[in-house]
């Protein structure tokens, strides 16, 4: 398990809720567009967790996620002068991340298995998790490991579009309209994809969600 407290401090102020820009963001953006790397660093700190998290849940591999997240911000820096502010910086960066991830997944020949071994301490003691596991078997550690594997395997079985909406909505907590903006589709499509993705997941994880 990896306590995230040290990283939380490093990434303060934390990413804004659902990507709502803070009042100083336009100023930071302007400075970054003028070539100020310190200002861009601040923007990276604000959104790195969300960008990394999205890519990680899509790829299920830390190394790939780290690399793609870096590429996302490098790309954002090089394209920053062309950013006109038609959407928020958050949406724009997310779009770069999502496109990079989808391209990566398409090009990845051999799908590697998950290395999701890092529920943090809070996650392991989550009441739902404890209840789910203790109800099923006394061998808690083995059951925890099995749950993680099944959850991740089920997610990886989803199509990329379905996995993306589940990741952005159910894991990252973004609202439908924001996801629609990121995925360049309408909110109805997002709702529909989410519904069918959840149905599939519910069937695959029926042992845990009865």
């Amino acid at each position: 398990m990896t306590p995230a407290s040290t990283d939380k401090a490093a990434s303060e102020p934390a990413a804004t809720a659902a990507g709502t820009p803070t009042s100083d963001e336009p100023m930071l953006l302007q400075r970054a567009q003028d070539g100020d790397l310190e200002a861009f660093d601040e923007l990276v700190r604000r959104y790195q967790e969300r960008v990394y998290g999205t890519i990680y849940h899509m790829t299920s591999n830390h190394e790939d996620a780290a690399d793609l997240a870096q590429e996302t911000f490098v790309k954002a820096w090089s394209a920053l002068k062309g950013f006109k502010g038609n959407s928020s910086f958050f949406t724009w960066v997310y779009r770069i991340a999502v496109n990079k991830t989808l391209n990566f997944l398409k090009s990845r020949k051999n799908k590697r298995h998950m290395s999701l071994n890092d529920f943090d301490a809070a996650g392991e003691n989550d009441p739902l998790l404890v209840a789910l596991i203790s109800d099923k078997t006394p061998r808690r550690e083995a059951a925890l490991s099995e749950l993680k594997e099944k959850l991740n395997a089920a997610l990886m079985k989803l199509s990329e579009d379905h996995r993306l909406v589940v990741t952005l909505h159910d894991i990252q907590g973004l609202p439908h309209d924001k996801i629609a903006e990121i995925m360049d589709c309408n909110p109805g499509t997002v709702r529909s994809r989410l519904f069918y993705a959840r149905q599939e997941l519910q069937a695959w994880l029926s042992d845990y969600v009865k």
Partner: protein, 155 residues
């Protein structure tokens, strides 16, 4: 139309557990400097060709990429249409255009007139090809000489 509501509460709680998954300790503390190193580093990947640069510039603009795709597709279709023009209707094939001299179509009857205007011998009346074409080397030597360049026939 939205899909029918269904109870996904437990599933959502299960999925929310994934929020607790974290990268190795210190990852986010190091991340901005790693990004910066890639931005400033000498080994920063540069797009090598115009194609890579175009792909890079379209990376964050799927609508623009789609528009480019449509435009290129349209130009290609237009090009193909111009190259493969449909055959004119039979009724219009022999009609002379205004201001232009009509060119009669080549038929067996006027092929002889065309040949007569050259130095070549007329075709045999039975319609068979000249012997030298059927059996090269055994045919009419005079015909072959007529078709040879002067520098070779004067030897």
């Amino acid at each position: 139309m939205d899909p029918a509501p269904e109870n996904f509460e437990k599933l959502q709680k299960l999925l929310a557990l994934k929020r607790h998954e974290q990268p190795p300790p210190g990852f986010f503390a190091r991340f901005p400097s790693q990004v910066r190193a890639r931005i400033e580093g000498p080994h920063r990947e540069q797009p090598t060709s115009w194609w890579h640069r175009l792909a890079e510039s379209l990376d964050a603009r799927p609508m623009l990429a789609g528009a480019y795709g449509l435009a290129v597709g349209g130009i290609l279709l237009l090009g193909v249409n111009l190259l493969v023009k449909p055959e004119p209707a039979p009724g219009f094939a022999n009609q002379p255009q205004a201001g232009k001299e009509a060119v009669p179509p080549l038929t067996l009857s006027n092929a002889g007139i065309l040949l007569a205007s050259t130095n070549l011998p007329p075709p045999p009346s039975n319609g068979s090809p000249p012997g030298f074409l059927v059996n090269p080397g055994t045919g009419d030597d005079r015909t072959q000489r007529q078709m040879m360049p002067a520098s070779l026939t004067n030897r």
